[in-house]
Symmetry: C2
Subunit: 287 residues, 2 copies
Amino acid sequence: MSETVVLRGKPVAEEMTEKDRQVAQQLREKGIIPTLAIVRVGEDPGDLAYERGASKRAEKTGIEVRHIQLEVSITQEELVEQIRQLNQDDAVHGVLMLRPLPRGIDEKYVCEQLAPAKDIDGITSGSMAGVFMDTDTGFPPCTAQACMDILDYYGVDLTGRKVTVMGRSLVIGKPVAMMAMRRNATVTVLHSRTTREDFAKAGRDADIVIAAMGRAKMVGADELGLDQVILDVGINSDEDGGLCGDVDFAAAEPAASMITPVPGGVGSVTTAVLMRHVLQAAEKSLE
Amino acid sequence: MSETVVLRGKPVAEEMTEKDRQVAQQLREKGIIPTLAIVRVGEDPGDLAYERGASKRAEKTGIEVRHIQLEVSITQEELVEQIRQLNQDDAVHGVLMLRPLPRGIDEKYVCEQLAPAKDIDGITSGSMAGVFMDTDTGFPPCTAQACMDILDYYGVDLTGRKVTVMGRSLVIGKPVAMMAMRRNATVTVLHSRTTREDFAKAGRDADIVIAAMGRAKMVGADELGLDQVILDVGINSDEDGGLCGDVDFAAAEPAASMITPVPGGVGSVTTAVLMRHVLQAAEKSLE
């Protein structure tokens, strides 16, 4: 058996940013300053960390960031008004809404107010319809797109291959299933109501496994086969307080052909995807 | 082996219409006359036949039909204007656009002008987003819903069962996959790029097969297992000029637990679904 390739996200992100820096430069030469607005309500440490990561990636890419920092006490009406202003602002190409929003705010309603053309993280029904119908409305969720970019970078073609998606969330499971299907994969979607036996069998039978259940190390040797490509989308805390994925890496790695680590895998690519979406939104705004 | 149940559509449609007649009556008592507008461009024999079937079903249900008959020479702008008028007309609750539209008209664009609230046959991106996201925006395509209604009528629960969908079209394959997943089935979607071996294996392994490839009798004994529930969505011409499904009924029937015939199966339920959607649209318009 040949050695397992660890699918690190960093080189994927670096290559994307390298290319995108040129795209950003070309836009600037046309008088467009590609701009991302990050809307943050409150001071959640997770939000702050993600905002820092996105800002760093934006700087590397040549994208301006406008930080919209709002008090936790903001009303839903005020937040919606803020989004409407961003929708109308031609200088803003993409809007990232950090979530979850505070309690008392109808998150679904608020997100839906964002114009799909600026919805660079796939949170609106317009973006979802685009993913489902394979049209260019909106953008897919960044994590789902990151899975595709990793497969592309490492030369994994999905045509005619069996992809098993573990999880059916709107953020990752369903959209990544659609995107794999668009790439001509034969897709099976597993979830919490799949029988244990079917789950293990569909995991073992797959050529490519995309684990996105959000449950620490729930996928191990029983649910995996030989020589598979394994993408682990989970980010969970393990028993020692460290980070781990949905896949038990130590158990899975020996038999796998390729596998993403956690951390350092899919999660390392999402901000690069976010920036690419901002540039695509800026380019579309030129048309 | 127990005898195969032939899943006829007629009793399903009859029961639906029986219930819906009462719903229509209740709406009328509240002063609402549930109304379906059928938009037909030209005189295509298939369109005329479908319009007759829908009109008959509407009459049985207690739904008014407004026939909008347009010349083939109509321009796209005129057609769009027609749709806008129907969107604004509070007396019309649902709009059925007979398709395909004549050449020279951008069908996708025209369909997209219909208000999702009146989109009783699931042709707009709003309806598609509703199916994908499991929200109550718009309506699923009638054929996909008909599959679910047949399963309900004959007491087939999908929870934890393996559903194999053959076909990935927007009209049936993708939406029916989403609807089966919502009912907690473990879903695999096969299509033209699935390898022949995987196709046969996933067909054999399924508890429930939904065939929607649009190819006459392409699913036979090799692609099917024992004691399965088989829904055949295909309507094709066979070698003798008669109608046949995507499943070779003679080959499939002996081993099946339940199977829909063609004609007289899924297709017999679609107009009843259409009427139910009109009533649901009328009820929502009351809110």
